[in-house]
């Protein structure tokens, strides 16, 4: 039976990664991810976890080591944030192209400058197109559940793609809260031992990562696109089996009070919990407001999202990072593209909120819904704004 514990979310994440019988952890500390790899290094040093912990000199080396160990057939984990993620991103593309099932926890943090260590989604958006499977957690329980799910999905022979679990830096990573921590036997039941499909072995030499000349590069990229899209049924199957075993069901798009809603908020990550409280208050005041949350960021769940928002009059899309001078923030761009393809045309207003650690409050969500609704009524052109930015 899972045990209800109070624990810092980062420590719980490390404990669960430890229970996956991970073979290699290569990592470099960076705020706000540090506690995750720090605790893993403690578990290894104390002899509680039989794994190789490689304390590398940079995130570029961390991901390079992960690529090497995963290619050799080892279950491999790392974690990073922000600037460190930027530094490792060169190798992140390669990990996905080599189809290496590395699992990474990203404690999401703003990108400098100005220098900022606090939470937003700039790092998640920066690495949108590295080709990894990406899920997003809203609370501590989801962090540990999605980490188990990540290993299960990444290593499935129908997927074989590196997988990220995004968790909001500080807001989740540094939070002490109650979680149900699984027992070892439960983890073992859900996550079978990793069996590599191909691995670097001197006895049976193969080449990984050759040059892709112009005559094959397009096909290689297409194959990656197809692989990422094909991961979706496995992601859903692994969530179904997770629900069967642990009683918690996850979906690519989660909805809250969307039934009969005229005005929808669209969020991603831990602010979704605050948004739910705001929706409760607005519903209590007789407003037909609901909430859709993106759980699966890559592969992008266009069908599920379309189903969730179809019928709404207005959509307030919250982005946690800018797409400078684009028509809207990165999440909203995807949403608008999905709406256009789906022949669905609600009024959409885009809010760039919670940047670099700025709080997003219950009141902010009420203000956003009211403003979008008013703009729609006045027939104003759709657009975006930096929420509560001082002029």
């Amino acid at each position: 039976m899972s045990k209800r514990v109070g624990m810092e979310v980062s420590i719980a994440a490390a404990e669960v990664v430890g229970m996956t019988n991970v073979d290699v952890i290569a990592a470099y500390p960076i705020t706000p991810q540090t506690h995750i790899v720090e605790h893993l290094s403690e578990l290894v040093a104390d002899g509680q976890l039989d794994a190789e912990f490689v304390p590398v000199e940079s995130e570029h080396s961390a991901m390079s080591t992960c690529v090497g160990s995963s290619a050799a057939g080892a279950r491999t984990f790392t974690s990073t944030s922000s600037q460190g993620y930027a530094l490792m991103s060169e190798i992140c593309y390669i990990a996905a192209a080599l189809r290496l099932p590395i699992v990474m926890a990203v404690a999401n943090r703003a990108i400098s400058g100005p220098i900022n260590i606090w939470n937003d989604h700039a790092d998640m958006m920066m690495s949108r197109d590295t080709g990894w499977v990406q899920t997003v957690a809203e609370n501590g329980q989801e962090v540990i559940d999605l980490l188990l799910h990540a290993f299960r999905v990444a290593e499935d022979h129908r997927v074989l793609l590196p997988t990220i679990v995004n968790l909001d830096g500080f807001t989740l990573s540094h939070m002490i809260e109650p979680m149900f921590l699984p027992e070892q036997a439960e983890v073992d039941r859900y996550l079978p031992p990793y069996v590599p499909k191909l691995r670097l072995d001197p006895a049976k030499p193969i080449t990984m990562g050759p040059v892709g000349m112009p005559d094959v590069y397009t096909e290689a990229r297409k194959a990656q696109d197809e692989a990422l899209k094909a991961s979706k049924p496995v992601i859903l199957e692994a969530w179904k089996e997770f629900a069967d075993q642990f009683g918690r069901q996850y979906h690519p798009v989660e909805t809250y009070q969307t039934e009969g809603a005229e005005h929808l908020l669209l969020t991603m990550g831990s602010i979704s919990e605050t948004a739910m409280t705001a929706v409760d208050a607005m519903r209590a005041a007789g407003k037909k407001v609901g909430l859709a949350r993106i759980r699966l960021w890559r592969p992008f769940p266009a069908d599920e999202l379309l189903a969730a928002v179809r019928g709404a009059k207005t959509l307030s899309v919250i982005d946690r990072a800018p797409a400078f001078s684009g028509g809207c923030g990165p999440v909203c761009c995807e949403v608008k593209s999905m709406l256009f393809d789906g022949g669905c045309s609600p009024y959409v207003w885009n809010y760039l909120a919670g940047l670099g650690g700025r709080d997003v409050t219950v009141e902010d969500f009420a203000d956003m819904v009211a403003k979008t609704s008013a703009c729609a009524d006045r027939g104003e052109p759709m657009g975006y704004e930096f929420l509560n930015a001082r002029e």
Partner: protein
């Protein structure tokens, strides 16, 4: 839902106070969150930490703006920090001080209901260190009743190991000696 804000100086254990409170509440079967004021911390500089405790699942990630209870680990902070910021009309300030309530009001202008304890003396006598975090938790739970003071025993033991007994003694002594305004 109860919201608590701890004021201390870096190194005095305000963050630990918040953590122990949440861990004890979770052990009691409640829901809780504990978090620091996120960012770089410096020893000696004013720091804050926050706790939410509820019988129901807590579904917010907002900062704590309107605590019902404020715990002040270091009385010198009263000169440089408005510890009553955001505190409601029926709010409570739990204060480490050697002074009487009348003298505290005269010197600081605090308006909230007060719970007072000489935590510095208790900590020095029981633990030989001027760290008042566990001591002030005894005062907090004397002044409020959202969980029994005994709930702190297990998390303090887990956190402090060989020096847990001294911390528990200081905590329980503060529980006895705290004076709570009616």
């Amino acid at each position: 839902m109860i919201e608590i804000r701890f004021h201390g100086r870096g190194g005095q254990g305000a963050v630990t106070s918040a953590e122990l409170t949440a861990l004890a509440a979770i052990e009691e079967g409640k829901f809780a969150q504990a978090f620091p004021s996120f960012g770089p911390e410096r020893r000696g500089a004013p720091v804050m930490a926050f706790v939410r405790v509820s019988d129901k699942q807590i579904r917010t990630r907002e900062k704590v703006y309107n605590p019902g209870i404020v715990v002040v680990l270091d009385p010198s902070l009263l000169k440089i920090v408005n510890v009553e910021a955001g505190l409601g009309a029926d709010g409570l300030v739990v204060l480490n001080t050697k002074l009487s309530a009348a003298e505290v009001r005269k010197q600081t202008g605090l308006k909230a209901r007060l719970a007072l304890v000489d935590a510095a003396t208790i900590a020095m006598e029981e633990m030989r260190v001027p760290i008042t975090n566990t001591t002030m938790l005894g005062a907090l739970l004397k002044a409020t009743d959202f969980m029994p003071v005994e709930a702190l025993r297990a998390p303090i033991e887990k956190r402090f190991g060989p020096i847990a007994a001294k911390n528990i003694k200081a905590c329980m002594r503060a529980y006895q000696e705290t004076i709570v305004e009616g």
